[in-house]
Symmetry: C2
């Protein structure tokens, strides 16, 4: 298959363009060379981008795919007129029909982050990240009541990356708390969690997969042994069932999927 | 202004749909009610979505905006035929022209994460998150050479959230290391960092903004005082300049912007 190049062009960070392009490209059995071009925010930079795109067109002998979220009209005009790629204009395509539907002009503002130090939403998101880090792995019970959600589960069931994703992507304060052998012997939830039952969400995992993951961290340890993983998972599942906590198996799920299910289930918007 | 509802509909997590819709909606001075509908992956669920959309259309007296990344053709057919919203079909719109350009059919596969426990890319990303957490705030010098980037700067200059974003979004191993008064007295970089000068990236911040941020954590402390913030920032900037480390001011920048600039600057792909 002849080589192709895909460009991701934005007048901002290009993260939306890249996320979008990844999702679209996953629909095809191709693996193009990827070139990221963030901060293309002047006609001058647009011309530089055009030069690269047209060079790739010549070298590849195939039209490059040019995914763009540019909103600056001057920049877009240069790309439209001059680039020899296939322009996949994810904003422009929808902006005109939306202007008509909404009966208003768009503002052509770049990105969502022009003034972060003054944005309450951004401030809250950073706060959520800090809160989540402070409350990782049951480090502290202080302010636990301020959590939007408290994840529980055995060590390495996916609590930490999921908590961080909930904070980073959705601005949620996500604590997480390990279930450990002492809890299983006592056969009750860690006492600090009891007042917050409605905020608890349990993660579980297939013992064989858990053993694999733990073996990467501590090879050939009792901690990572299949036998111990089976014991811990069975105990943790039984405990969560007794306590009436919703649980989800993370075995084949991405942190995006786990986080989306938690958010939907606990109705966190 | 009459009320409007925006729906984000996906057969996967809907995170791409939501990211995209947020970026598009930021172009207009409207603030619609937002309804997320992930995992709409069967005609049955599509019908349920249609009912909600058409209900909103009636209540609002305005067509809802329906942002969708659905790739399942049966689901899409129901939405197209039955929903009384304005369908903003970010995948379908581009898939047909791309099929033509590429000379192949798309696979209509949902999401990128169908088999995460077997995906090397996903595994590496989780590893990067774990590495980044282990190397937060100079906690350990072990494996420091495996870092893709090492962020340095004074306490609360934005190192931790930026590191986590680099790991979470781009799968980069991002360590971070604080510059502290002892370093300023010694007037040299922390010795552990010296071998990795090429991986260092400095974050700096306006002292007044730093004082604000620190005051949220430790009100009225010497640590948060404007005088101390001025001293630390001046010393850190001088040290990074002497060491020839690239630096960026985070004062008005989002973690997305900071991460994108670092990635571009250090040529981390």
């Amino acid at each position: 298959m002849p080589h192709r190049t895909a460009f991701f062009i934005s007048d901002g960070t290009g993260i939306t363009a890249e996320t979008f392009a990844k999702a679209i490209l996953a629909q095809f059995e191709i693996d193009p060379k990827r070139v990221r071009m963030p901060f293309i925010d002047s006609p001058d930079k647009a011309w530089q981008a055009v030069r690269q795109i047209n060079h790739a067109a010549e070298v590849d002998g195939k039209r490059p795919l040019v995914f763009t979220t540019v909103v600056n009209m001057e920049v877009l005009a240069v790309l439209r007129a001059e680039c020899k790629g296939m322009l996949i204009d994810m904003f422009g395509t929808f902006i005109s029909p939306l202007e008509e539907e909404l009966g208003m002009k768009s503002n052509h503002r770049v990105g969502r982050f022009s003034d972060v130090s003054k944005s309450q939403e951004y401030h809250d998101r950073i706060e959520a990240i800090n809160f989540t880090l402070d409350h990782d792995d049951g480090q502290t019970n202080e302010d636990l009541e301020k959590s939007d959600v408290i994840l529980v589960g055995v060590s390495r069931s996916g609590k930490t990356p999921t908590s961080l994703y909930l904070a980073m992507q959705f601005g949620l304060k996500a604590s997480n708390y390990p279930l450990i052998p002492e809890d299983f012997e006592r056969r009750t939830l860690p006492p600090a969690l009891v007042p917050f039952k409605k905020k608890l969400f349990g993660l579980t995992i297939d013992p064989a997969r858990l053993s694999e993951i733990r073996n990467e961290r501590r090879p050939n340890s009792r901690y990572a042994s299949l036998e111990n993983c089976r014991y811990e998972v069975a105990e943790a599942e039984a405990m969560m069932r007794r306590a009436g906590i919703r649980t989800l198996s993370t075995t084949t799920k991405s942190i995006e999927e786990i986080a989306t299910i938690i958010r939907q289930d606990l109705n966190l918007q």
